[in-house]
Structures are given as C-alpha cells and as structure tokens.
C-alpha cells in the first residue's frame, strides 16, 4: 500500500565520549506491499532502526519517508506505521484486557466505543482468536496467542506499513510456525508493506521478498531474497548463511586454519567501530587473512555500495559493480 523509505538515517545514543552510533547512514526502502527482511547480529542496530521509524527514538540525521512524505508523529493521529515487538510478554500491559489493549490502538477518529468493540472482535478474528478473548488478561494467554494479540493491535491502527521486530524469537519453535504462517497470510491478504526483522536467516527467508543485512549500524547488503541467499555478496552474509543450521548436514567443519585469525574474533564494540570496513577484523577475505587488502582498513566500502550488486558494502565483493533496482 505504501512505501517506507529510510533516507540516510543515523541514530546516536549518548553524548560526547560515550556516543554510540547505533544506526549509521542507513538507506533502505520497503517497497509497497512487499516484505523486507532485515537480518544482522545482535546489537547491529535493527531494532533501533525500527524504533526510529515509529518515532520511539529520534534520528540524529536523515529522513524517514512514507510514500515520499516525511513521517510525523503527533499524538491523536492515525499512525500509518505500526510495530510488533519481540517479546509478547512485555508488549502487552498485564493490567489491561487484551480487548482494551487493542481498542486503545483503534484510531479515535474511527468511531465510538461500539465501533471500537466491533473492531476489536473483527481483529481478534483476523488473527485467529475468539472474540470473547477480548476480556482475557495477557496472563491467561500463551506466548503465541499473545503475539497474535500484539499483531491484532498493530493492525488496529490501520497501518500502511508494519514493522515486525523479531516477533518469533521469544517463542518456542513449535509456536513460531503458527505466528510465521499468520504473518504471511495477513500480509498477503491485506497487502501490507512490512519490515520484518530477525536474526534468523531461515525465518527471514520464509516471509521476505527482499533481504537486507545489517552489520554494526550499517546495511552491508540488500537485494531480492532469493538472490541474496543464493548469491551472497558480502562476506558477512556468507558467514550468516554458513552459520544457519542446515538440516541433514551434521557438519560443523573446522574452519580453515588460515581463517583462524578471524574465526574466533569477537563482535566489535559498537562504541568504537573499526575504521574502514567495519567487518574487517572478522573478515575471512579481509586484511587479516589475505595480504594486500589494506584498503579495508581505511576506506569505507559503503560509499561505493550502491554501485555494487546487492549494494554490497565490500571492496572485494564477488559480483561486478552494478546498480540494483529494488522495485523490480
């Protein structure tokens, strides 16, 4: 329905010496009616990006545009962007019935109390819950049910775009499936645009049309889901793919001794991100492994990214330089 665009968005926390750039100059588009999956390791800034979009965090610079218009967040208005949170246990007020929680999100302009009640019943139905559940408190619901309520609440705001931040990672695997199915179903039914955040490539793959990979506050690769998964350009994407457990392969193959230098490297400190390519201390094709790649130490690969396949932020990405058209 609507296109969400992050235009050079930067988010910083703290001040002075303690400043932390959680999201650094991010450029990302969620095309209308499509699902963009955002993956990346913990602390890479995925949630921060999402929170900036819905106005929970202020961005230091850049714009977030909905259909080309900068988003404004003022109380009382319909919020075209809605978010579903990771933890269904903390995203529902334990002191409120789920009906109230959902009703609260129904825009005031839409109608009176009666309308709101009907809307709650409709939404509960939409996410596969009985309407009489509206009177229940979250404590009486299972994790999966709560996550459905959270989704219903997000839908109550009549959003154009939904941001789903790791909505399954707090759930048991057996429940994860039902939520993923629901998300897919609803997205197709309602033609929602969606930013689907997860650290699990397999999950992202299952729901997304596009995949963006984030590392230390930057998008390092973005492209159509299938392309990124089958032809990853950035070494970090490759590492993620390799780490994703694969059924049937009992291989935890020892890393190449040559790669030992980076194999056990720690995640970088976001307060002091490495200069040049942020991934270089861990990069299996970077300066610590292959000599002669000193450019990674100093030159930031994101500047040229748009000219590479999948907008990859890597000097030594496999593919040739080319522009990617997200709206293909």
């Amino acid at each position: 329905m609507s296109e969400l665009r992050f235009d050079q968005v930067t988010v910083r926390f703290g001040t002075g010496r303690n400043v932390l750039t959680a999201v650094d100059d991010v450029e990302l588009t969620v095309p209308s009616g499509q699902v963009v999956g955002l993956v990346g390791e913990s602390g890479s800034g995925k949630s921060t990006l999402a929170r900036a979009a819905v106005g929970l965090t202020e961005q230091a610079s850049g714009q977030i545009l909905l259909d080309g218009v900068p988003l404004r967040h003022s109380a009382g208005q319909r919020r075209p962007l809605q978010m579903v949170f990771q933890d269904p246990y903390s995203s529902l007020d334990p002191r409120m019935t789920v009906g109230d929680s959902i009703a609260e999100a129904v825009p005031r302009s839409a109608g009176g109390a009666k309308h709101r009640r009907q809307e709650v019943a409709r939404l509960l139905g939409l996410v596969g819950l009985d309407a009489d559940r509206a009177a229940a408190y979250p404590g009486a619901l299972s994790g999966g049910q709560r996550q459905r309520v959270a989704i219903a609440r997000a839908l109550a705001g009549q959003p154009d775009v939904i941001i789903a931040d790791e909505i399954t990672s707090a759930l048991d695997v057996s429940i994860q499936g039902t939520v993923l199915n629901l998300v897919r179903e609803l997205q197709r039914e309602l033609h929602l645009s969606m930013l689907f955040i997860s650290h699990n490539l397999a999950v992202v793959r299952y729901v997304s049309d596009f995949i963006a990979v984030m590392y230390l506050g930057r998008i390092v690769e973005v492209g159509p889901a299938r392309d990124v998964l089958t032809d990853p350009q950035h070494p970090y994407t490759k590492e993620l793919l390799a780490a994703a457990p694969q059924r049937g392969t009992t291989s935890l193959s020892e890393p190449d001794p040559a790669l030992q230098a980076v194999a056990d490297a720690e995640p970088a400190d976001p307060h002091h991100p490495p200069a040049g390519c942020r991934f270089h201390p861990r990069c299996p094709i970077g300066p610590l492994v292959l000599p002669g790649r000193e450019d990674c130490l100093t030159i930031d690969p994101t500047t040229e990214a748009s000219r590479r396949r999948h907008r990859t932020a890597c000097h030594h990405a496999a593919g040739a330089l080319q522009t990617v058209d997200l709206s293909q």
Partner: protein, 352 residues
Amino acid sequence: MTTTHGTTHGTTMPGATPPGPGSTGGWRAPGALAAMTTHPWVRFAVRRLGRLVVSVLALVTAAFLMIHLIPGDPVRSALGPSATKSLIDARRESLGLDDPLWLQYLQFLQHLFTGNLGTSITTGLPVSDVIRDRLPATVQLAVGAFLVAVLIALPVGLVLGVLTRAGRRPRTELGFTSTTVILAAIPEFLLAVGLVYVFSMKLGWLPVAGRSNAASYVLPVISLAIGPAAILARICRVELLAVLQTDYLRTARAKRLPAPAIYLRHALPNAVTATITLGGLLLGGMVAGTVLVENVFGWPGLGSTIVSSILAKDYPLVQGVVLVYGVGVLLVNLVVDITLALLDPRSTIRES
C-alpha cells in the same frame, strides 16, 4: 541485552591496556591521556566529585536561604512580635541583613571558607567552637552504633538467609521477620529508657549515663544500633536470598565448592553491596537517632544542641548544625559509593 555489551575496549582494568584481538587494524589507538580520562575509575571519581560539589553547594545555599526563607523578617521573628523597631534595625544591621541578597550570600561563603559559622545567640560562643566541642561525641556514638549494627546485622541476616533459603524453615522466618519489624518499630528513646532500667538500675551492670569509660558507651550504642540492625539484618537476608537465586551461585555449586566457600566467597560480597548502600543511609539516620538517645544518656553531643537551638531560635547555631550534619551525610555517601565501587567492579560502569 546484547552479547556485545561490555567488550574489552574502554573498560579495561588499571594499567593494562594492550590492544584487544580485533584491534589490529588500529581502529582505536587510545593515547595515554585518552586512556587516562576514559579510565573508568577516573571517570567515576570525576563524576562522583562533581556530584559531591553540587550537593555541598545545594546544602550551603539551603542553609543560607533557610534564614531568608523565614516568613517575614528573621530578626523580627527571633526577637518576637513586640520588639521595637530600633532594636530590630540594630540587629538587622549587625547581621548584615540589609545588604543585597547576593552580597550576603558571598559574605556567607567567605565566612564559611574561613571556618566562621557565626556566633550562637544563646551562649554567645562561636558556633564553630560549639560544634567542635560536641561533634566528636556524636560521631563516636553514631559510628559506634553503625559498626555494632553492621556487626550484628550482617551475620544474623546472612545466617538467617542461609537457614531460610528457598522457603525453608518458615517458622524461623516468621519469627525473624516479626522480631525485626518489632525492633525497628520501637523508638530509640523508649528502648534507651528500657535498657537503662534493666541494665543500670536493676542489674547495675552498666553506668546510667555519661561518657567516661568504655562501659558507658555500651547502652547508648546499643539503643541506637538495635533498630537499624533489625532493618539491616532484614535487608541483608532478602539480599542474600536474591543472591542465592542467581545463576552464578548455581555455577559456584556446580564447581562443587564446599558450602562455606559458596556462602562466604560468592554470596556474601554480592549480598553485602545493597546492604552497604542501605547502611550508609542508616548511618545518616543514626545521627538523627542520637538526638533522642543523647538526651537520655546525658551524652555531650551535637544531638541535644540541635533541638535546643531550634527551640531557642538560635538560627546561627541551627545553620551551623545543618551544614555540619549535611556535609557529614554527604561524606558518608561518598564513602559508601567508593566502598561499593571497590566491592562491585560494575558499579563504576553502572553509574553512567
């Protein structure tokens, strides 16, 4: 929240700042100075000192304003409604109250720096002398009671924590809780009177009052210490119970350490931190308790001065006492914070 929290850089311990494994690329090359200023201890000290200075300033200003906040005219209210105008004017003049407020404030600060706290209205002695004479007795009493409270509360709280962990011995727990709640609800002065009755009058074991020999410290210190000790013991137990629930204690058990090692080496230091935080606050409260206890035991301290100076509207003395007392409390808090920082390496970080 995330796995990357607290990685090596920026939080290394004193003296040791070799580059981390991933720093080969020189993505952070802290200079010596930068390392110094970013050192957690330095940062902690700077921040803490800043807070102290702000607090002291607030205190000094409040003490100054106290006299100026008195509705109407402090001199008039000191002298009473029927004082003559000439008398009031003369007094105003001598107190410098006709100067603009900022000038008076500056003068006040200047006097403070020279240790001049003014002259007591009732005795005519310099306030600084009065305080100097009486402060030690109060400090002795409060600190003594604090130490006793801690020495009673920590072992009792810890032992009871261990005994009643995970809902064991519910009856003991009930007894402990009720005892401590009752003890904490008894006003110090009542306790003091009771103790004198039993130990001095009936049994004749201890002196009734005064501050002469070691024996004369026993009752005042105990009557002051028992209430706080009860509170402290309870907090200590609750803390210990919380610590006993932690994963790292399970780790310690998984190491098959003997019970004493588990409790003393692993549980105690962690349980003690919160206890100390509270303890510092209690020490401040104990100084308040001295006011009452000093009265009962004829203790030559500042506590009795506090009350009499207020009742006599001896404002310079009240002001001096407020200042000294406030600074004392701030210092105690400083000591507590430093102790905590020493005991718990995270606190220096956590502060920010």
